[in-house]
């Protein structure tokens, strides 16, 4: 056997993983947009849900900043749903479809595949989130201009990073214990709207707000971004922005590390029990 053909330098694993991540992202970024129905179901329908909350607040005569809460929550909700359905459950569905084997037998890292899913997911979801944003600004004349735009962008990116790392953790958990994946995902959707304060300030949750903000990147990021847009008073911020940024910055490596550990563990258990190769186990 010609071993030279397979000799690799130190950068080869990195190159392989980058190629693998891009190839997996390609499926979502370019190919997924070939289905026209996607525009209806992924963009227009969710925006309608956001409208309902805005009209409820208007009917109640709530202060204008509550509409900002809803629009920002609607934007971030798109990312949560993408993390849940397109990241968390993805390995499970890949296994059901018989695609998981492609990844497991390839030399690239599984984290590279998850990173590709995340990248593709962020791009696709940003289109949906962008539409929510445009609808909010144009239809409700919501002011979404932050006082410190670069800081707001940084918080947004940190939130996404930590959120998608959480999705990577869920991916491994669902893969191993995901027989009831539909029910679990549905069960995780609605309560998360509540504990992340998607349509209202987290402060309204009282002590539960602190519990949420200490564990959920979406709750932390949303509260921080609302404060950067509305100011701490109108935003009814739970913690100072600086503290929230520090929490987000800490949660990113923690969630990523946990994702790597869970992935390695699920693969090890899967190889020991056969759970990864049997579609219906």
């Amino acid at each position: 056997m010609n071993r030279d053909r397979f000799a690799e330098d130190r950068l080869e694993p990195l190159r392989t993983n980058l190629r693998a991540a891009w190839a997996r992202a390609y499926v979502r970024i370019f190919a997924a947009s070939r289905e026209p129905s996607w525009i209806l179901f992924e963009t227009i329908m969710p925006v309608l849900g956001m409208f309902a909350y805005v009209y409820v607040y208007r009917a109640l005569g709530a202060p204008r900043e509550f509409e900002t809460f809803v629009v920002m929550g609607g934007v971030m909700m798109a990312y949560w749903l993408a993390v849940l359905w397109s990241m968390g459950t993805q390995w499970f569905f890949e296994k059901q479809e018989g695609n998981l084997e492609f990844y497991l037998v390839a030399p690239c890292s599984r984290m590279a595949i998850l990173a590709g899913m995340a990248l593709g997911g962020v791009v696709m979801t940003s289109m949906r989130a962008g539409l929510s944003l445009v609808a909010g600004v144009l239809l409700f004349r919501t002011n979404l201009m932050p006082g410190e735009p670069w800081l707001a962008l940084g918080v947004f990116l940190l939130t996404l990073g930590s959120l998608y790392a959480l999705g990577m953790c869920l991916a491994s958990l669902f893969l191993m214990y995901g027989r009831e994946v539909w029910h679990v995902s549905n069960a995780l959707a609605e309560p998360m709207y509540l504990v992340n304060g998607l349509y209202f300030p987290l402060k309204a949750l009282g002590p539960w707000g602190f519990a949420a903000i200490s564990t959920l990147p979406l709750a932390i990021g949303l509260d921080a971004m609302r404060q950067l847009v509305l100011g701490p008073v109108l935003a009814r911020g739970l913690l100072p922005v600086g503290t929230e940024v520090a929490l987000l910055a800490a949660s990113l490596p923690v969630n990523l590390g946990l994702a790597v550990w869970l992935l390695a563990r699920s693969e090890r258990i899967g190889k020991r029990t056969g759970a990864l190769i049997l579609r219906h186990q």
Binding site: N2, R5, P13, R19, A20, V105, T273, G274
Partner: protein, 364 residues
């Protein structure tokens, strides 16, 4: 390239004599020793342990086209999953391309690919061309090289006309070809093919076999490990064959070597009406009653005999004539791989699978 032309132009493979193959632990393409694998199904008191492999030893030389032949449930796929790093053995050691498949899975994965039979060809939303490119990227193949290889595979596997078609719009046959093609886009040193022609139409299966021969001929270091339960496919393609049943490898040899293990007596298959007693045939000098096959749709069943010479055959026919039996059909052939399989395993593949199907139906 026209596929029929390709088939005719297939270069002849130069195979290595088995006795000169390096089948040592570090020199073999695939080496396994004492592989066992058990699965636990169910939980609590109803938990059952199934022994899928019960001590498999394998040595596959570099440049070999090696077949693993056995019925469903024999342990073929479990063996493949262990060799391709998807499954740990319960006990035993396995080395692929010189690397420990348990401790160094990445080193193994860089050198292998796995194609499981069927029509699962990835994401339906991608085109055929994009799919081949995507799979190559998981192996780190530079895009330009990947596209060149993809174009070559499109031609060689008759996928050119479908290159820009979405995978979910392909027929099953084309999906199966694409599934097969993806296994070669990374130009692996060892390809594991798990029932690659299962359910394929005759032409596609022939194309795939032609491609395999051509691919092997192009580089004598390339190795293919193929599981199949098609006797003819194993006989036609493989340099050596391992016969596996109930988690054990019962024999490994060249097709010729395996055939030489059974007697040179000619095989005779006589088709008789269901219910005909055949015990008397076994008492005819020079005749051995090998087995009978289950009744078919025509209300007949097959009696398989090993017959020493023409005189013995005449004796067998006389016995049937005396008993007034109607012979619906009679055929003779030299010992085949099927006969070898029956001699080694004790039953034919068809019988084993018919029994398996019956058991499953009863279980359901």
């Amino acid at each position: 390239m026209d596929l029929d032309v390709m088939h005719e132009a297939t270069p002849q493979r130069v195979t290595t004599a088995p006795e000169t193959l390096d089948l040592s632990r570090d020199g073999a393409a695939v080496w396994a020793s004492g592989l066992t694998r058990s699965f636990v199904s169910g939980r609590g008191r109803s938990a059952k342990t199934v022994h899928a492999l019960s001590g498999v030893d394998l040595g596959i030389g570099r440049g070999e086209l090696f077949g693993v032949l056995g019925p469903n449930g024999a342990g073929k796929t479990t063996t493949m999953k262990i060799l391709t790093t998807l499954l740990f053995p319960t006990t035993g050691e396995v080395r692929v391309a010189g690397f420990d498949a348990i401790a160094k899975p990445r080193d193994v994965r860089r050198r292998i690919s796995l194609v499981s039979g069927g029509d699962n060809a990835g994401y339906g939303i991608l085109t055929v061309r994009e799919s081949l490119w995507m799979f190559s990227q998981f192996y780190g193949v530079p895009s330009k090289l990947a596209r060149e290889r993809g174009e070559e595979l499109l031609d060689r596997l008759g996928l050119r006309e479908k290159a820009d078609e979405r995978v979910n719009r392909l027929s099953t046959g084309f999906k199966q070809r694409l599934n097969f093609a993806r296994g070669f886009v990374s130009d692996p040193a060892i390809v594991f093919l798990d029932e690659p022609t299962l359910g394929l139409d005759v032409e596609s299966a022939r194309n795939i076999r032609g491609f395999l021969r051509e691919w092997m001929a192009a580089d004598r270091t390339r190795t293919v490990v193929l599981t199949t339960h098609y006797m003819a496919e194993a006989d036609e393609l493989c340099d050596r064959i391992a016969i596996i049943d109930r988690g054990k490898i019962l024999a490994t040899d060249t097709p010729q070597g395996l055939r030489a293990r059974v007697s040179a007596d000619r095989r005779v298959v006589i088709e008789l009406e269901t219910g005909t007693p055949v015990d008397a045939l076994a008492r005819v000098p020079g005749v051995r009653l090998l087995r009978t096959t289950p009744p078919g749709e025509r209300g007949t069943f097959g009696v398989h005999l090993a017959v020493a010479d023409g005189k013995a055959l005449r004796g067998a026919l006389d016995v049937l004539g005396v008993e007034g039996r109607t012979i619906h059909n009679l055929s003779t052939h030299d010992p085949s791989l099927e006969d070898v399989f029956v001699a080694i395993v004790g039953r034919g593949l068809e019988e084993i699978e018919a029994d398996e199907a019956k058991r499953r139906a009863e279980g359901a």
